[in-house]
Protein backbone atom coordinates (compact mmCIF):
# COMPACT_ATOMS: atom_id res chain seq x y z
CA UNK A 1 0.00 0.00 0.00
CA UNK A 2 2.49 2.66 1.15
CA UNK A 3 6.17 1.67 1.41
CA UNK A 4 9.19 3.75 2.40
CA UNK A 5 12.78 2.50 2.06
CA UNK A 6 15.67 4.46 3.61
CA UNK A 7 13.63 7.62 3.11
CA UNK A 8 15.61 10.79 3.89
CA UNK A 9 14.93 14.49 3.55
CA UNK A 10 17.27 17.31 4.45
CA UNK A 11 16.54 20.93 5.24
CA UNK A 12 19.75 22.89 4.73
CA UNK A 13 22.38 21.31 6.95
CA UNK A 14 20.30 18.92 9.03
CA UNK A 15 18.45 15.74 8.28
CA UNK A 16 14.77 16.40 8.97
CA UNK A 17 14.16 12.70 8.32
CA UNK A 18 16.93 10.13 7.98
CA UNK A 19 16.68 6.54 6.65
CA UNK A 20 13.03 6.01 7.51
CA UNK A 21 11.82 2.57 6.39
CA UNK A 22 8.31 1.29 6.90
CA UNK A 23 5.46 -0.56 5.25
CA UNK A 24 1.88 0.60 5.86
CA UNK A 25 -0.50 -2.19 4.97
CA UNK A 26 -4.19 -2.04 3.99
CA UNK A 27 -6.61 -2.65 6.81
CA UNK A 28 -4.17 -1.58 9.51
CA UNK A 29 -3.71 1.61 11.53
CA UNK A 30 -0.03 2.50 11.73
CA UNK A 31 0.92 5.18 14.23
CA UNK A 32 4.05 7.29 13.97
CA UNK A 33 4.83 8.81 17.36
CA UNK A 34 7.45 11.37 18.30
CA UNK A 35 8.05 14.62 20.10
CA UNK A 36 7.86 17.97 18.32
CA UNK A 37 10.58 18.34 15.71
CA UNK A 38 11.16 14.60 15.48
CA UNK A 39 10.40 14.66 11.75
CA UNK A 40 6.74 13.64 11.84
CA UNK A 41 5.51 16.49 9.68
CA UNK A 42 8.36 15.93 7.23
CA UNK A 43 7.28 12.31 6.88
CA UNK A 44 3.69 13.45 6.28
CA UNK A 45 4.90 15.96 3.69
CA UNK A 46 6.87 13.23 1.89
CA UNK A 47 4.04 10.69 1.82
CA UNK A 48 1.48 13.34 0.82
CA UNK A 49 3.74 14.42 -2.05
CA UNK A 50 4.36 18.01 -0.90
CA UNK A 51 8.08 17.28 -0.37
CA UNK A 52 10.48 15.36 -2.55
CA UNK A 53 12.80 12.78 -0.89
CA UNK A 54 16.51 13.72 -0.85
CA UNK A 55 17.42 10.03 -0.70
CA UNK A 56 15.65 6.73 -0.51
CA UNK A 57 12.57 5.32 -2.22
CA UNK A 58 8.88 5.85 -1.57
CA UNK A 59 5.96 4.15 -3.25
CA UNK A 60 2.36 5.21 -2.61
CA UNK A 61 -0.48 3.00 -3.85
CA UNK A 62 1.93 1.36 -6.25
CA UNK A 63 3.33 4.61 -7.71
CA UNK A 64 7.09 5.09 -7.35
CA UNK A 65 7.40 8.73 -6.32
CA UNK A 66 10.87 9.09 -7.83
CA UNK A 67 9.47 8.93 -11.33
CA UNK A 68 7.74 12.32 -11.16
CA UNK A 69 4.24 13.62 -10.47
CA UNK A 70 1.55 11.24 -9.27
CA UNK A 71 -1.27 10.15 -11.58
CA UNK A 72 -4.78 11.36 -10.67
CA UNK A 73 -5.83 7.89 -9.50
CA UNK A 74 -3.12 7.93 -6.83
CA UNK A 75 -3.93 11.52 -5.86
CA UNK A 76 -7.60 10.78 -5.21
CA UNK A 77 -6.67 7.40 -3.70
CA UNK A 78 -4.66 9.01 -0.90
CA UNK A 79 -6.67 11.10 1.53
CA UNK A 80 -4.51 13.65 3.31
CA UNK A 81 -5.44 15.51 6.49
CA UNK A 82 -2.66 17.99 7.17
CA UNK A 83 -1.96 19.57 10.54
CA UNK A 84 -3.76 22.74 9.41
CA UNK A 85 -7.40 22.09 8.33
CA UNK A 86 -7.90 22.74 4.61
CA UNK A 87 -10.74 25.26 4.79
CA UNK A 88 -11.82 28.60 3.27
CA UNK A 89 -13.01 30.90 6.10
CA UNK A 90 -15.51 32.76 3.93
CA UNK A 91 -17.33 29.61 2.78
CA UNK A 92 -19.78 27.81 5.04
CA UNK A 93 -19.00 24.39 6.53
CA UNK A 94 -21.26 22.66 4.01
CA UNK A 95 -19.74 24.50 1.05
CA UNK A 96 -16.21 23.66 2.21
CA UNK A 97 -17.12 19.98 2.44
CA UNK A 98 -18.74 19.98 -1.00
CA UNK A 99 -15.67 21.68 -2.50
CA UNK A 100 -13.20 19.19 -1.03
CA UNK A 101 -15.34 16.21 -1.95
CA UNK A 102 -15.76 17.41 -5.54
CA UNK A 103 -12.04 18.24 -5.85
CA UNK A 104 -10.92 14.83 -4.62
CA UNK A 105 -13.67 12.57 -5.98
CA UNK A 106 -17.30 12.78 -7.03
CA UNK A 107 -19.65 15.66 -6.16
CA UNK A 108 -21.51 15.22 -2.87
CA UNK A 109 -25.22 14.39 -2.70
CA UNK A 110 -27.00 16.61 -0.19
CA UNK A 111 -28.03 13.48 1.76
CA UNK A 112 -24.42 12.28 2.10
CA UNK A 113 -23.30 15.79 3.06
CA UNK A 114 -26.01 16.08 5.69
CA UNK A 115 -25.27 12.70 7.23
CA UNK A 116 -21.51 13.41 7.31
CA UNK A 117 -21.97 16.78 9.02
CA UNK A 118 -24.44 15.24 11.42
CA UNK A 119 -22.00 12.44 12.28
CA UNK A 120 -19.30 14.92 13.20
CA UNK A 121 -21.76 17.08 15.14
CA UNK A 122 -21.72 20.11 12.83
CA UNK A 123 -25.25 19.94 11.42
CA UNK A 124 -26.29 23.06 13.32
CA UNK A 125 -23.26 25.09 12.23
CA UNK A 126 -23.33 23.78 8.61
CA UNK A 127 -24.70 27.03 7.18
CA UNK A 128 -22.40 29.38 9.15
CA UNK A 129 -19.17 30.66 7.60
CA UNK A 130 -16.14 28.58 8.59
CA UNK A 131 -14.59 31.79 9.90
CA UNK A 132 -16.91 31.59 12.91
CA UNK A 133 -15.81 27.99 13.75
CA UNK A 134 -13.63 27.19 16.76
CA UNK A 135 -10.44 25.14 16.28
CA UNK A 136 -12.28 22.02 17.44
CA UNK A 137 -15.13 22.60 15.00
CA UNK A 138 -12.65 23.10 12.14
CA UNK A 139 -11.07 19.79 13.11
CA UNK A 140 -14.47 18.13 13.04
CA UNK A 141 -15.05 19.57 9.58
CA UNK A 142 -11.79 17.97 8.47
CA UNK A 143 -12.88 14.68 10.04
CA UNK A 144 -16.07 14.84 7.96
CA UNK A 145 -13.78 14.40 4.93
CA UNK A 146 -13.04 10.85 6.12
CA UNK A 147 -16.69 9.98 5.48
CA UNK A 148 -17.04 11.96 2.26
CA UNK A 149 -13.88 11.13 0.30
CA UNK A 150 -14.96 7.60 -0.53
CA UNK A 151 -12.34 7.17 -3.32
CA UNK A 152 -9.52 7.28 -0.78
CA UNK A 153 -7.97 3.81 -0.31
CA UNK A 154 -5.36 5.11 2.11
CA UNK A 155 -5.46 7.91 4.66
CA UNK A 156 -2.67 10.06 6.01
CA UNK A 157 -3.68 11.85 9.24
CA UNK A 158 -1.43 14.49 10.86
CA UNK A 159 -2.51 15.01 14.49
CA UNK A 160 -6.16 14.08 13.81
CA UNK A 161 -7.29 15.05 17.32
CA UNK A 162 -5.91 18.57 17.66
CA UNK A 163 -8.26 20.91 19.50
CA UNK A 164 -10.81 18.17 20.18
CA UNK A 165 -12.54 17.50 23.51
CA UNK A 166 -12.94 13.99 24.96
CA UNK A 167 -16.08 13.43 22.87
CA UNK A 168 -14.07 14.49 19.82
CA UNK A 169 -11.42 11.93 20.70
CA UNK A 170 -14.08 9.26 20.79
CA UNK A 171 -15.27 10.41 17.36
CA UNK A 172 -11.75 10.07 15.95
CA UNK A 173 -11.42 6.56 17.38
CA UNK A 174 -14.76 5.51 15.83
CA UNK A 175 -14.05 7.02 12.44
CA UNK A 176 -10.53 5.61 12.15
CA UNK A 177 -11.71 2.17 13.26
CA UNK A 178 -14.38 2.25 10.54
CA UNK A 179 -11.68 3.14 7.98
CA UNK A 180 -9.57 0.21 9.14
CA UNK A 181 -12.46 -2.24 9.11
CA UNK A 182 -13.31 -1.18 5.54
CA UNK A 183 -9.81 -2.31 4.46
CA UNK A 184 -8.16 1.09 4.12
CA UNK A 185 -4.56 1.77 5.21
CA UNK A 186 -4.35 4.50 7.85
CA UNK A 187 -1.08 6.26 8.69
CA UNK A 188 -1.62 8.38 11.78
CA UNK A 189 0.98 10.81 13.05
CA UNK A 190 0.40 11.92 16.61
CA UNK A 191 2.12 12.69 19.86
CA UNK A 192 -0.98 11.87 21.96
CA UNK A 193 -0.28 8.52 23.64
CA UNK A 194 -3.97 7.84 24.47
CA UNK A 195 -5.03 8.01 20.85
CA UNK A 196 -2.17 5.79 19.71
CA UNK A 197 -2.96 3.08 22.30
CA UNK A 198 -6.62 3.05 21.37
CA UNK A 199 -6.09 2.71 17.64
CA UNK A 200 -2.61 1.67 16.57
CA UNK A 201 -1.94 -1.90 15.33
CA UNK A 202 1.64 -0.94 14.50
CA UNK A 203 3.56 1.86 16.20
CA UNK A 204 6.83 3.49 15.06
CA UNK A 205 8.72 6.02 17.16
CA UNK A 206 10.68 8.87 15.61
CA UNK A 207 13.53 10.57 17.45
CA UNK A 208 15.50 13.38 15.86
CA UNK A 209 14.45 12.33 12.38
CA UNK A 210 15.37 8.67 12.83
CA UNK A 211 13.49 5.53 13.73
CA UNK A 212 14.13 4.83 17.39
CA UNK A 213 15.41 1.22 17.73
Amino acid sequence: MIEALELSRRFGRQWALRRFSGRFEAGTVSAVVGHNGAGKSTLVGLIAGLLRPTEGALSVLGHDCATGPRPPAVRSGLGVMLHQPYVYPDLSGAENLELVSALYGQPLTSKARHSALHRVGLDKAARRAARTYSRGMLQRLSLARLLVQTDARAWLLDEPATGLDSEGHQLVVELVSELRDSGRAVVMVSHQAALVEALADVSLTLERGRLAS
Binding site: A48, R75, L82, H83, Y104
Partner: protein
Protein backbone atom coordinates in the same frame (compact mmCIF):
# COMPACT_ATOMS: atom_id res chain seq x y z
CA UNK B 1 -11.63 16.07 -14.46
CA UNK B 2 -9.41 19.09 -14.98
CA UNK B 3 -12.23 21.17 -16.47
CA UNK B 4 -14.44 20.32 -13.49
CA UNK B 5 -11.69 21.32 -11.07
CA UNK B 6 -11.05 24.58 -12.92
CA UNK B 7 -14.75 25.38 -12.63
CA UNK B 8 -14.77 24.45 -8.93
CA UNK B 9 -11.79 26.63 -8.06
CA UNK B 10 -13.07 29.54 -10.16
CA UNK B 11 -16.57 29.28 -8.68
CA UNK B 12 -15.03 29.21 -5.20
CA UNK B 13 -13.00 32.36 -5.84
CA UNK B 14 -15.97 34.21 -7.35
CA UNK B 15 -18.28 33.04 -4.55
CA UNK B 16 -15.90 34.23 -1.86
CA UNK B 17 -15.48 37.52 -3.74
CA UNK B 18 -19.24 38.05 -3.95
CA UNK B 19 -19.42 37.54 -0.19
CA UNK B 20 -16.49 39.65 0.87
CA UNK B 21 -16.23 42.04 -2.14
CA UNK B 22 -12.76 42.64 -0.79
CA UNK B 23 -10.78 42.31 -4.01
CA UNK B 24 -12.96 44.39 -6.31
CA UNK B 25 -13.40 47.30 -3.93
CA UNK B 26 -9.66 47.54 -3.25
CA UNK B 27 -8.80 47.27 -6.96
CA UNK B 28 -11.46 49.78 -8.13
CA UNK B 29 -10.67 52.28 -5.38
CA UNK B 30 -6.95 51.95 -6.06
CA UNK B 31 -7.48 52.50 -9.80
CA UNK B 32 -9.58 55.63 -9.35
CA UNK B 33 -7.06 57.06 -6.87
CA UNK B 34 -4.19 56.54 -9.30
CA UNK B 35 -6.09 58.31 -12.08
CA UNK B 36 -6.88 61.26 -9.81
CA UNK B 37 -3.24 61.52 -8.76
CA UNK B 38 -2.08 61.35 -12.39
CA UNK B 39 -4.66 63.93 -13.44
CA UNK B 40 -3.31 66.36 -10.84
CA UNK B 41 0.32 65.49 -11.58
CA UNK B 42 0.03 66.16 -15.32
CA UNK B 43 -2.52 69.01 -14.96
CA UNK B 44 -4.28 67.69 -18.02
CA UNK B 45 -5.75 69.84 -20.76
CA UNK B 46 -7.32 68.74 -24.02
CA UNK B 47 -4.22 68.24 -26.15
CA UNK B 48 -2.02 66.68 -23.46
CA UNK B 49 -4.78 64.39 -22.28
CA UNK B 50 -4.80 62.57 -25.61
CA UNK B 51 -1.03 62.11 -25.36
CA UNK B 52 -0.95 60.94 -21.70
CA UNK B 53 -4.40 59.38 -21.31
CA UNK B 54 -3.63 55.89 -22.70
CA UNK B 55 -0.51 55.72 -20.55
CA UNK B 56 -2.47 56.51 -17.39
CA UNK B 57 -5.13 53.91 -18.20
CA UNK B 58 -2.63 51.12 -18.74
CA UNK B 59 -0.47 51.96 -15.73
CA UNK B 60 -3.64 51.87 -13.65
CA UNK B 61 -4.56 48.47 -15.07
CA UNK B 62 -1.07 47.19 -14.33
CA UNK B 63 -1.04 48.30 -10.69
CA UNK B 64 -4.64 47.34 -9.98
CA UNK B 65 -3.97 43.94 -11.57
CA UNK B 66 -0.96 43.41 -9.33
CA UNK B 67 -3.06 44.27 -6.29
CA UNK B 68 -5.68 41.79 -7.44
CA UNK B 69 -2.98 39.15 -7.89
CA UNK B 70 -1.78 39.52 -4.29
CA UNK B 71 -5.39 39.26 -3.01
CA UNK B 72 -6.10 36.24 -5.17
CA UNK B 73 -3.21 34.28 -3.68
CA UNK B 74 -3.49 35.59 -0.11
CA UNK B 75 -6.62 33.54 0.18
CA UNK B 76 -4.65 30.37 -0.61
CA UNK B 77 -1.81 31.13 1.74
CA UNK B 78 -3.45 30.71 5.14
CA UNK B 79 -4.97 27.35 6.16
CA UNK B 80 -2.59 25.48 3.83
CA UNK B 81 -5.16 25.84 1.09
CA UNK B 82 -2.59 25.95 -1.68
CA UNK B 83 -1.27 22.48 -0.82
CA UNK B 84 -4.86 21.22 -0.68
CA UNK B 85 -5.37 22.43 -4.24
CA UNK B 86 -2.03 21.19 -5.56
CA UNK B 87 -2.62 17.69 -4.16
CA UNK B 88 -5.99 17.44 -5.90
CA UNK B 89 -6.21 14.90 -8.76
CA UNK B 90 -6.31 17.66 -11.37
CA UNK B 91 -3.06 19.01 -10.03
CA UNK B 92 -1.35 22.36 -10.57
CA UNK B 93 -2.55 22.86 -14.18
CA UNK B 94 -6.16 23.32 -13.09
CA UNK B 95 -5.08 25.67 -10.32
CA UNK B 96 -3.12 27.77 -12.81
CA UNK B 97 -5.91 28.06 -15.39
CA UNK B 98 -8.52 28.78 -12.71
CA UNK B 99 -6.39 31.54 -11.20
CA UNK B 100 -5.69 33.11 -14.61
CA UNK B 101 -9.41 33.18 -15.43
CA UNK B 102 -10.12 34.54 -11.94
CA UNK B 103 -7.62 37.39 -12.36
CA UNK B 104 -8.91 38.22 -15.86
CA UNK B 105 -12.47 38.40 -14.51
CA UNK B 106 -11.46 40.56 -11.56
CA UNK B 107 -9.48 43.02 -13.71
CA UNK B 108 -12.21 43.17 -16.37
CA UNK B 109 -14.90 43.89 -13.78
CA UNK B 110 -12.69 46.59 -12.25
CA UNK B 111 -12.21 48.10 -15.70
CA UNK B 112 -15.93 48.16 -16.39
CA UNK B 113 -16.48 50.01 -13.12
CA UNK B 114 -13.53 52.36 -13.37
CA UNK B 115 -12.87 53.10 -17.06
CA UNK B 116 -15.85 55.42 -17.63
CA UNK B 117 -14.70 57.38 -14.57
CA UNK B 118 -11.12 57.43 -15.83
CA UNK B 119 -12.07 58.69 -19.28
CA UNK B 120 -14.11 61.42 -17.64
CA UNK B 121 -11.34 62.43 -15.24
CA UNK B 122 -8.70 62.51 -17.94
CA UNK B 123 -11.15 64.17 -20.32
CA UNK B 124 -10.20 62.06 -23.32
CA UNK B 125 -12.93 61.63 -25.98
CA UNK B 126 -13.17 57.94 -26.92
CA UNK B 127 -15.00 57.97 -30.30
CA UNK B 128 -17.63 55.29 -30.79
CA UNK B 129 -15.85 53.55 -33.65
CA UNK B 130 -12.71 53.33 -31.47
CA UNK B 131 -14.41 51.20 -28.82
CA UNK B 132 -14.00 47.73 -30.48
CA UNK B 133 -10.26 48.26 -30.93
CA UNK B 134 -9.98 49.53 -27.36
CA UNK B 135 -11.90 46.51 -26.03
CA UNK B 136 -9.73 44.12 -28.03
CA UNK B 137 -6.57 45.79 -26.72
CA UNK B 138 -7.89 45.51 -23.17
CA UNK B 139 -8.74 41.85 -23.61
CA UNK B 140 -5.37 40.88 -25.13
CA UNK B 141 -3.46 43.02 -22.65
CA UNK B 142 -5.25 41.78 -19.55
CA UNK B 143 -4.98 38.14 -20.67
CA UNK B 144 -1.26 38.52 -21.33
CA UNK B 145 -0.67 40.23 -18.02
CA UNK B 146 -2.67 37.60 -16.12
CA UNK B 147 -0.85 34.67 -17.73
CA UNK B 148 2.53 35.99 -16.59
CA UNK B 149 1.38 37.46 -13.27
CA UNK B 150 -0.34 34.26 -12.11
CA UNK B 151 2.69 32.18 -13.07
CA UNK B 152 5.06 34.25 -10.95
CA UNK B 153 2.43 35.15 -8.32
CA UNK B 154 1.62 31.49 -7.71
CA UNK B 155 5.25 30.50 -7.63
CA UNK B 156 6.39 33.23 -5.28
CA UNK B 157 3.23 33.41 -3.13
CA UNK B 158 4.74 31.31 -0.36
CA UNK B 159 8.05 33.22 -0.11
CA UNK B 160 8.64 36.13 2.29
CA UNK B 161 9.85 38.31 -0.55
CA UNK B 162 6.81 38.15 -2.81
CA UNK B 163 5.93 41.88 -2.64
CA UNK B 164 9.52 42.67 -3.68
CA UNK B 165 10.05 39.91 -6.20
CA UNK B 166 6.78 39.79 -8.10
CA UNK B 167 7.01 43.35 -9.53
CA UNK B 168 10.72 43.00 -10.39
CA UNK B 169 10.04 39.82 -12.32
CA UNK B 170 6.59 40.44 -13.80
CA UNK B 171 6.86 44.02 -15.08
CA UNK B 172 9.84 43.53 -17.44
CA UNK B 173 8.08 40.54 -18.99
CA UNK B 174 4.74 42.29 -19.58
CA UNK B 175 6.32 45.44 -21.08
CA UNK B 176 5.42 44.45 -24.68
CA UNK B 177 1.76 44.08 -23.74
CA UNK B 178 1.71 47.37 -21.86
CA UNK B 179 3.31 49.31 -24.72
CA UNK B 180 0.97 47.57 -27.16
CA UNK B 181 -2.03 48.46 -25.04
CA UNK B 182 -1.01 52.09 -24.84
CA UNK B 183 -0.43 52.34 -28.58
CA UNK B 184 -3.71 50.65 -29.45
CA UNK B 185 -5.61 52.80 -26.96
CA UNK B 186 -4.03 55.84 -28.64
CA UNK B 187 -5.08 54.52 -32.03
CA UNK B 188 -8.60 53.91 -30.71
CA UNK B 189 -8.71 57.53 -29.63
CA UNK B 190 -8.04 58.63 -33.18
CA UNK B 191 -4.30 59.50 -33.43
CA UNK B 192 -1.54 57.13 -34.54
CA UNK B 193 -0.92 55.62 -37.99
CA UNK B 194 -3.52 53.08 -39.19
CA UNK B 195 -0.90 50.46 -40.22
CA UNK B 196 0.76 50.48 -36.79
CA UNK B 197 -2.33 49.20 -34.99
CA UNK B 198 -2.20 45.87 -36.88
CA UNK B 199 1.43 45.33 -35.91
CA UNK B 200 0.65 45.90 -32.26
CA UNK B 201 -2.35 43.56 -32.42
CA UNK B 202 -0.17 40.87 -33.93
CA UNK B 203 2.50 41.40 -31.27
CA UNK B 204 0.00 41.19 -28.39
CA UNK B 205 -1.69 38.14 -29.86
CA UNK B 206 1.72 36.50 -30.28
CA UNK B 207 2.56 37.39 -26.70
CA UNK B 208 -0.60 35.74 -25.42
CA UNK B 209 -0.13 32.61 -27.50
CA UNK B 210 3.51 32.15 -26.48
CA UNK B 211 2.77 32.50 -22.77
CA UNK B 212 -0.42 30.43 -23.05
CA UNK B 213 1.85 27.61 -24.20
CA UNK B 214 4.84 28.23 -21.91
CA UNK B 215 3.37 29.28 -18.55
CA UNK B 216 1.33 26.13 -17.80
CA UNK B 217 4.39 23.99 -18.59
CA UNK B 218 6.57 26.01 -16.22
CA UNK B 219 3.88 26.27 -13.51
CA UNK B 220 3.21 22.53 -13.37
CA UNK B 221 6.92 21.76 -13.21
CA UNK B 222 7.75 24.38 -10.61
CA UNK B 223 4.84 24.18 -8.16
CA UNK B 224 5.37 20.48 -7.39
CA UNK B 225 8.67 19.93 -5.53
Amino acid sequence: MTAKTIWLILRKDVLIELRTREVLTSMALFAVLIVVVFAFAFSLDETRAKLVGPGIIWVTILFAGTLGLYRLFDRERDHAAMSGLLLAPAGPLAVYIAKVLGLVIFITVTEIIVLPLMLAFIGVPLPLEGIPLFALALLLGVLGFSLVAVLFGGMLASTRLREVLIPIVVYPVVVPVIIGGVKLTGAAMGDGLPGEADNWLRLMAGFDIIYLALCPWVFTRVMVE
